[in-house]
């Protein structure tokens, strides 16, 4: 956790954007790597670096199929994002 009690894996602009974008998908859905890259406006290398960190924390899952790579938020990732959002609101309420 950061000094603020925020999850440091999520508390970075690119990873926060990635998590929130994937959380907007319906349960059981995943997003293709190119579409995610286009939405976030990142280079493939930059996106891969951040996805690896999120994947290492168990927050996202990448899967490779014949159609290409797709990325989905895991149940752990969704729960962690909810906790992060609640912690963030609590910080702002206390200011």
């Amino acid at each position: 956790m950061t000094d603020d009690g925020l999850d440091p894996v999520i508390h970075a602009p690119v990873r926060l954007r990635t998590m929130v974008t994937l959380a907007a998908l319906r349960d059981g859905d995943s997003l293709s790597f190119p579409r995610l890259q286009q939405i976030l406006g990142l280079t493939p290398g930059n996106l891969i670096t951040h996805l690896r960190k999120l994947e290492a924390a168990g927050y996202v899952l990448s899967s490779k199929t014949a159609a290409g790579t797709s990325v989905a938020l895991t149940a752990t990732g969704r729960k962690s994002l909810d906790e992060y959002t609640a912690a963030l609101r609590a910080i702002l309420d206390s200011i």
Binding site: T2, D3, D4, L6, H11, A12, P13, L16, R17, V20, T21, A23, A24, L25, R26, D27, G28, D29, S30, L31, S32, P34, R35, L36, I39, T65, A67, S70, A72, T85, L88, R89, I91, L92, I95
Partner: protein, 205 residues
């Protein structure tokens, strides 16, 4: 040391959430607005062609051709919007969408086949090209939409489907010519309300 300010993070979170909801919405408010205008244009055109008929014979060929042209354009707009929203998305919801399309599409076609059966069995022009032709699709498609939405736990879809059923039922009481007019006005109003509701929902924090 943390350089990412929590306030900045909260603003980013809100803005990305709003953007993602809008981006992945297969039926944005603008498409709803277009659908409302399309319904008014189609049913209005058909009503104008039948309102002074005595005896009733049904919409003219020109009005029917116009109606199908408007419908075709509307379908292209809806499909394009859906494809844009779901581009790159795979998984459960896409499979559910395909099943839902079948569950609504087959009954829709069946209405017209059933109408042909009514014609073959001697039903009058006022039924085949009037009351049933106008209101039948609303009853059947509305019921199918409500059923599919109930299965997917979507209250908005249930309300939309049941509204279509009610509109279709009420319109049938206005006779073969009046039904077209009632469906045009009521259908347009219902779609406008739905588009407004979607607009508000997308802007909700």
């Amino acid at each position: 040391m943390n350089a990412f300010d929590p306030r900045e993070a909260a603003d980013l979170l809100d803005s990305i959430e709003h953007d993602a909801r809008r981006r992945f919405d297969p039926r944005p408010p603008l498409v709803g607005l277009i659908s409302a205008v399309v319904v008014l244009a189609i049913y209005g055109t058909l009503w104008l062609s039948v309102r002074d008929q005595h005896p009733y014979v049904g919409p003219s060929d020109t009005a029917t051709a116009w109606a199908y042209t408007i419908l075709a354009v509307s379908i292209v707009v809806s499909v394009t919007s859906y494809r844009r929203a779901t581009q790159g998305i795979t998984g459960r919801s896409r499979r559910q969408d395909a099943v839902a399309g079948l569950a609504v599409g087959v009954p829709w076609i069946a209405v017209y086949v059933f109408n042909a059966a009514l014609h073959a069995n001697g039903a009058g022009q006022d039924i085949v090209y009037g009351v049933f032709d106008a209101a039948g699709p609303w009853l059947v498609v509305g019921a199918a939409v409500a059923g599919v939405a109930a299965g997917r736990g979507r209250p908005g879809g249930i309300v939309a489907g049941l509204t279509a059923v009610v509109i279709g039922t009420v319109a049938a009481f206005f006779g073969p010519a009046g039904a077209w007019g009632v469906l045009g006005v009521a259908g347009c109003a219902a779609l406008l309300i739905q588009a407004a509701a979607r607009f508000v929902a997308l802007r909700r924090p």
